[in-house]
């Protein structure tokens, strides 16, 4: 019934040796996944929007809508 002597030293070290590489790897994977599923599509969406963006056309549309104070719509 006498219990054998268990390992009593270095228990935290053993745990860290196992879990730290996993933690770092998983963090890197999550960061990479976020980059490629969120930030890159978002950047691409902005790039696509501005590739065919006509600033003067948009300005004139806003001007006709009468939202500016510095320029009146072309009719007035």
């Amino acid at each position: 019934m006498s219990l054998p002597k268990p390992v009593m030293r270095g228990l935290l070290a053993k745990r860290l040796r196992f879990h730290l590489p996993i933690a770092f790897t998983l963090s890197l994977i999550v960061a990479a996944a976020f980059k490629f599923t969120v930030t890159e599509p978002r950047k691409q969406a902005y790039a696509d929007f501005y590739k065919q963006y006509d600033a003067m056309k948009e300005f004139n549309a806003m001007r006709e809508a009468g939202i500016f104070e510095s320029v009146r719509p072309s009719g007035e």
């Binding site: 006498s2 002597k5 268990p6 270095g10």
Partner: protein
Amino acid sequence: MFSAAVRISAAGIRTAVRSRPCFTAPLAVRCYSHAKPETDEEFDARWVTYFSKPDIDAWELRKGMNTLIGYDLVPEPKILDSALRACRRLNDLASAIRILEAVRDKSGPHKDIYPYVIQELQPTLRELGISTPEELGLDKL
């Protein structure tokens, strides 16, 4: 915690170059020192001696226990025996029982350590008349 991480990264980088004791020592051994790393037996003996001081005072007992609990190890039964006898000399039953609770806490998820330590300490506990937290119902919330 940091010392354990330093030790692992140090060991990982330097195992090919440095000696084995650097990898297994419980304390934050700096791998670039030329001092011989302390063996487990020397460590245990040092702590048994610390608690065996005949005129140890209460502060030294508390300081010793707190330092010992900070290490990445569960103290050996012989160190705990020396600490319990120091508690006896100081008439401090509360600290004696607290030491046993600390051993249980230090074991963490490894549930086989505490029963083993209690088994090894039974003669001392009986001799000094120390009850375990379980006997006093202090292990229940």
